[in-house]
């Protein structure tokens, strides 16, 4: 009965432990590790595909809702299978390589985009005790790997041998390198407060309240900066200068078609998911339920909601926020974009981080 209840509670940690103990009982240690890695790999790819489908559909639905129209509503019940049909279409399309392109780099770029997105998945805690890689420098790892994204975009833009692509790639390079700074600095505020680079420990440090509530105004400021910076880092509107449909047709992926385009498209949505997951982990407590200080009864009630639901709820809320930006704001110009970062966000983040350090030393937080 107890086990059934836990399965019902979608407790990923229990399921993974059950599989692990069964594997250990059946195979030797080496094979167990190999099989578990294969399972993890398959799970990541499955999650990838599922997230891609869900997020594309969600984007279109959110867009339709904001733009007073219906959105996809023909394929499947309520248009649920629309993105599946789109994927099928992209699969059967010809993946063209332009004549003047550097063929090797041109074909490599989408895979690098995809690989970076996959690597970023590793240290994220999807639920209580459910994590692919409990890395003790998780935050550092994420900021290091996420900057690789720019390489794939530069590669795609350069190898396409198209001026629009090149301009998009150059814009993207300037943009991602700049905004990484304030994203990193705003992440640091939480690292300072929690005293750890390990994502799991950061989550556990929020068991009596999420950092956004515990950290007063400085953490709220860094949360806002984080959201702005990651919107820019993932090339989403209003910072979608790398794609800039009305100026550069489609920017760095102008020349891509078929599945190669789909990989870029998918990588963009996965990146949005990942940055939102990191935002949720750092500022909104990840899988940690909504706890208030020492209200034991209240906290206990909150614990009954499965931790995975908390994690995905928070993440999708942030994703919705980023989609909301996209369908509301016009695009910035390249010089305004860089001004915003270097003249406003970076100085504010730096000052903010000093403030948080003082706060952490003096213990001025709950």
């Amino acid at each position: 009965m107890g086990k059934l209840w836990e399965v019902f509670m979608l407790s990923f940690s229990k399921i993974s432990q059950l599989i692990d103990s069964w594997l250990r009982a059946t195979f030797n240690a080496t094979w167990t590790m190999v099989i578990e890695m294969v399972i993890a790999g398959v799970c990541v790819i499955g999650l990838f595909a599922a997230l891609g489908l869900v997020l594309v559909l969600m984007e279109r639905r959110v867009a339709a809702w904001i733009q007073i129209r219906l959105g996809p509503n023909r394929v499947g019940p309520g248009g649920m299978l629309q993105s599946l049909a789109d994927t099928l279409k992209l699969l059967v399309k010809e993946g063209m390589t332009p004549d003047g392109a550097d063929k090797f780099l041109f074909n490599l770029a989408p895979f690098i985009a995809m690989m970076v997105a996959m690597l970023l998945m590793a240290p994220i805690a999807f639920a209580k005790d459910f994590q692919l890689w409990d890395l003790n420098i998780g935050v550092l790892y994420i900021s290091a790997v996420s900057s690789l994204m720019v390489i794939s975009i530069l590669m795609a833009g350069w190898a396409s041998n198209n001026k629009y692509s090149l301009m998009g790639a150059m814009r993207s390079g300037a943009q991602i390198v700049s905004y990484e700074l304030s994203a990193g600095l705003s992440i640091l505020t939480v690292v300072i407060l929690s005293g750890s680079l390990n994502l799991n420990e950061i989550i556990l440090s929020q068991s009596d309240g999420w950092w956004i509530f515990k950290g007063h105004i400085p953490v709220i400021i860094s949360f806002v900066i984080f959201i702005i910076a990651v919107t820019a880092e993932t090339n989403r509107a209003p910072f979608d200068l790398a794609e800039a449909e009305s100026e550069l047709t489609a920017g760095f992926h102008t020349e891509y078609s078929g599945m190669k385009f789909a990989l870029f498209f998918l990588a963009e949505y996965i990146n949005v998911f990942i940055v939102c997951a990191i935002g949720a982990t750092l500022f909104l407590g990840g899988w940690m339920p909504f706890h208030i200080g020492h209200w034991e009864g209240f906290n206990h009630v909150m614990d009954f909601i499965p931790s995975s639901l908390w994690f995905f709820g928070k993440t999708f809320f942030l994703i919705f926020l980023i989609m909301w930006f996209r369908w509301t704001f016009p695009r910035l110009r390249i010089d305004q974009l860089l001004n915003l970062e270097w003249k406003y966000l970076l100085p504010i983040s730096m000052f903010n981080i000093l403030l948080v350090t003082v706060m952490a030393i003096l213990g001025w937080y709950f």
Binding site: A63, R69, A237, E247, R333, I334, Q336
Partner: protein
């Protein structure tokens, strides 16, 4: 000048914006020389949608050629038709019934609002905001429905004929226009909230694409782009036609001369059009909707010119008649052509993203430029 690898002698890159490009809203082809993101030169290339309408008109009768003009500036087809009808009426010395005159002005102003609505949506889309387009279409559809009911068409109406209008207005017309005014007034604040007041939008528009009044005049710029530079050029005021001199409305002038001024001129012009419609909608006089004219129209020998104010600027029809049933020569002065000529001057030294914004504020309709 243009070398094979697409670079100028001093190393600047040449890119082709168009003829197929999302920013040009049609088949306009701009050859742009850029240095990084900064524009050195903009060279418009025309001819991709040239249908030789002026030559075609020479073999069409004075009743027929009006239909072709709907296909020039398709967003203000009523006003184009109006200009041609007025020009032919001038030649024939026909007195247009008062009812027809009021209907014509009503249609003109509704067209102007519809055109500006579309421009507003497309303008925001040029700047990367997609949502305003759908909001603009919500109101524009209402106008299109009104047009469909009365004229039988939604885009190329062909409603104005020499001597009046083709048929009487639909019985629902007045009520539906009043409903539209109510809808418009309740929704116009959304436009300001969504776009005009947006900080990103204002930063993108203010101080960008400056056009001095002197340059506006020397490039022959007319309509909202010229009025955004403070040049008074509203044909409805300067050369009143139909009943415009009896109506109460202001000519909108902004003096900044930048993209935002041109934007504000159009937004404020929509309100003036609403004001004109409100004055007329309850005062449509009874009577004929068309004057009695001969079956075959023959203009006396001579030259005839009529200027009107379309949504984009001054539109002129110049007919040379030899006394036959078809024009001997015909020339249209389209506002878009002259407005486009100022683009190079405005865009030099600004960023590529701003070029798209400037083109948006010029409100180019390519079939109008190319005829």
């Amino acid at each position: 000048m243009v070398e094979e690898i697409g670079r100028t002698a001093d190393g600047n890159i040449i890119i082709n914006v168009g003829p197929q490009h999302p920013a040009t809203h049609g088949v306009l082809h701009l050859v742009i020389t850029i240095n990084g993101e900064t524009i050195i030169k903009v060279e418009p290339h025309l001819g991709y949608i040239h249908r030789s309408i002026e030559k075609m008109c020479e073999s069409l009768t004075y009743r027929q050629f009006i239909y072709v003009t709907s296909r020039m500036d398709y967003l203000s087809s009523h006003i184009n038709n109006h200009a041609c009808a007025l020009c032919v009426e001038n030649g024939l010395q026909v007195e247009v019934p008062a009812r027809a005159q009021v209907i014509r002005v009503l249609m003109d102003e509704l067209t102007r609002i519809a055109s500006h609505e579309l421009w507003w949506g497309a303008m925001a889309m040029d700047l990367g905001a997609f949502t305003p387009f759908f909001h603009a279409f919500r109101e524009r559809e209402t106008i299109n429905d009104i047009m469909e009911e009365t004229c039988g068409a939604r885009l190329t109406m062909n409603y104005m004929v020499p001597g009046g209008v083709m048929q009487d207005i639909h019985p629902n017309f007045q009520q539906r226009v009043k409903d539209f005014i109510k809808l418009y007034k309740s929704k116009i604040s959304e436009y300001d909230e969504l776009v005009t007041g947006n900080i990103i939008f204002q930063n993108r528009m203010k101080g960008v694409g400056y056009l001095s009044p002197e340059d506006a005049v020397s490039f022959g710029v007319s309509g909202p782009p010229a009025r955004g530079s403070g040049v008074s050029c509203d044909t409805r005021k300067t050369y009143p036609y139909e009943i415009y001199n009896q109506l109460q409305f202001e000519e909108i002038l902004e003096t900044e001369g930048d993209s935002f001024a041109r934007y504000m001129v159009r937004i404020r012009e929509m309100n003036q059009s609403i004001k004109i419609i409100e004055q007329l909608i309850d005062n449509i006089p009874e009577g004929d909707f068309q004057a009695k004219t001969k079956a075959v129209l023959k203009l006396p020998k001579g030259e005839f010119l009529q200027k009107v104010e379309t949504a984009r600027g001054q539109f002129g029809v110049y007919i040379v008649s030899e006394g036959g049933t078809t024009p001997y020569r015909i020339k249209f002065r389209s506002p878009g052509f002259s407005n486009l000529s100022a683009l190079d001057h405005m865009a030099r030294g600004s960023k590529l993203g701003d070029l798209v914004a400037m083109m948006g504020t010029l409100d180019l309709v390519i079939p109008d430029i190319d005829r």
